[in-house]
Symmetry: C2
Subunit: 315 residues, 2 copies
């Protein structure tokens, strides 16, 4: 069964080429010694606006009709996807409205405004922001782009793993963090079509292990309302578009605790000299914790982004 045609995936790379950066792949002999694996870090922290989300947002916009483009788009996010939609909209020359909770961090608000998008504040609950999105869709004819549960976003996200597979010329394992499921689903589709022998694994904070439980139960599970993780991009849950893909192509989900996430993040900052965000450190931590599984394997690791609050995380 194919969720999407192979040439739709490879075609996505051309569709977004003018809007994204191809990102470098880096290696660390010290990390390889530490893990016993041959690890390739795909650095989406060097992507425009600092995260892989730019790929999905750009591809979703590149897939809109002229009428849709003329009317503009709307999304809800207080994180990287908000910035990705804002920057993409600027590059496409279209209108974007971002629904954010009133209590969103000021720095995130400023970043979105800096790209020229309009922010619409909503109440703190999911219901509030969804109501706001529906109002904007109806009143202004805006097209909604979901941050992770949208096939065009997933296809856009797949381009990172496509580049990684092409550059490394063959991997035994691909690991990506899993939050809303859009990156993991895209990574899995890329592996299925371009490197079918590669095992795809998701990495998740044990504090919000909904994807782990979803894969076990076969149904989309949720997290406790007060569940906390420092990897704030991963607090969301899977959706009906990406879960079937994940269920079909993902081998397993590995969970790590908060201390492991912090230690892994710190190790990469200090030793590899690159800033990765806590969500990306979840994948690094999974490799470190379960290194026996990866012994002597060629492992691709998607570093999803670099938008970390360095000062507060270093404190």
């Amino acid at each position: 069964m194919n969720f999407i045609e192979k040439n739709t995936l490879s075609g996505a790379r051309q569709k977004i080429a003018n809007y994204i950066h191809p990102t470098p792949v880096i290696t660390s002999s010290t990390f390889n010694q530490l893990t016993g694996a041959d690890v390739f870090f795909k650095c989406e922290n060097f992507q425009r606006m600092g995260a892989f989300k730019m790929r999905g947002a750009a591809h979703a916009m590149a897939s809109l009709t002229n009428i849709q483009l003329a009317k503009g788009v709307v999304t809800h996010s207080s994180g990287n996807f908000a910035q990705a939609v804002a920057l993409s909209a600027k590059l496409f020359g279209i209108k974007a409205k971002i629904v954010m909770p009133e209590n969103a961090p000021r720095v995130k608000i400023e970043a979105v405004k800096g790209y020229g998008a309009e922010i619409v504040f909503s109440g703190p609950l999911i219901q509030h922001r969804e109501d706001e999105v529906h109002k904007l869709m109806e009143r202004e004819g805006l097209t909604f782009i979901h941050p992770s549960n949208d096939m065009d976003v997933i296809i856009g996200n797949s381009t990172s793993a496509q580049e990684l597979i092409e550059e490394t010329g063959g991997l035994d394992v691909l690991i990506s963090p899993v939050g809303g499921g859009g990156l993991l689903a895209g990574t899995a589709l890329a592996a299925h079509h371009f490197s079918p022998q590669t095992i795809v694994i998701g990495a998740e904070p044990v504090n919000v292990d909904d994807a782990f439980r979803s894969l076990r139960s076969g149904m989309i599970e949720s997290n406790a309302k007060d569940a906390f993780t420092i990897a704030d991009g991963l607090r969301t849950t899977l959706g009906n578009v990406n879960f079937p893909i994940i269920k079909t192509y993902v081998n397993s989900i590995l969970c790590v605790d908060e201390e492991e996430i912090l230690q892994a993040m710190w190790w990469v900052w200090e030793r590899m000299k690159i800033i990765i965000e806590p969500s990306s450190a979840v994948a690094v931590a999974a490799l470190l914790r379960y290194k026996e599984q990866f012994h002597a394997k060629r492992v691709g690791l998607i570093i999803s982004g670099g938008n970390a609050d360095i000062k507060s995380l270093a404190g």
Copy 2:
């Protein structure tokens, strides 16, 4: 006048190829917008042990005779050169002793020990460490490698700019930080032989502006004993081997203050997602402060290293 033959410089790349990493060149469209220049960051922060010093240390060892190799080497440094000599000696399989002041930071001591070199503590004054070095040379027949005032070290350092010139295919300007002068001299030699139209500029903290004053007076100047800069790698002064090269080939030295250094470092960490050390931020800060000079120019910038104390600098 040639201080060194062109093929000696290019030959150095082969001599050290097995001991160092070729480092990536990265660009930032945001930084280019900010400065109006076309800037190429040569990332020695991704070099082995985290700094360009590995190039000079490896080249100095590769230039030793078998008898010298059999007896071992000695240097004095409490910074990156200590680690560079320690790691190089490990790779060459030779003995290394590093003279360090008793009050050297514990983390530096541990790093050197981790590479297997022996640390010899001396008193805090320059005279103390030099006495200690002489004792070791006489007693044990060790060969002394100076961190910056040694032609083989300078030639090794030149390989960074050689790679940068080759990869970018032509630069209007090359900027490197200047402390002891070994990196700036190597950069100047590389430009002279491989890109003679390129203007070479040094960047220095105004608090320790000895190189700036030396270039003006034509003599090696020193700094006040209590002079402080956060760019601790740049507190040293020029030497009789590198100063003639700098005097001949370097166009000018640009000075920046402590606040500019910190702001530049912070900008690179946050926006470019790479960790650079304060000494490297000096060159970034010089470009930012004097950006009118670099308008529409192709500028190569040597990011000398990434061994920053992230926690204390972020605090």
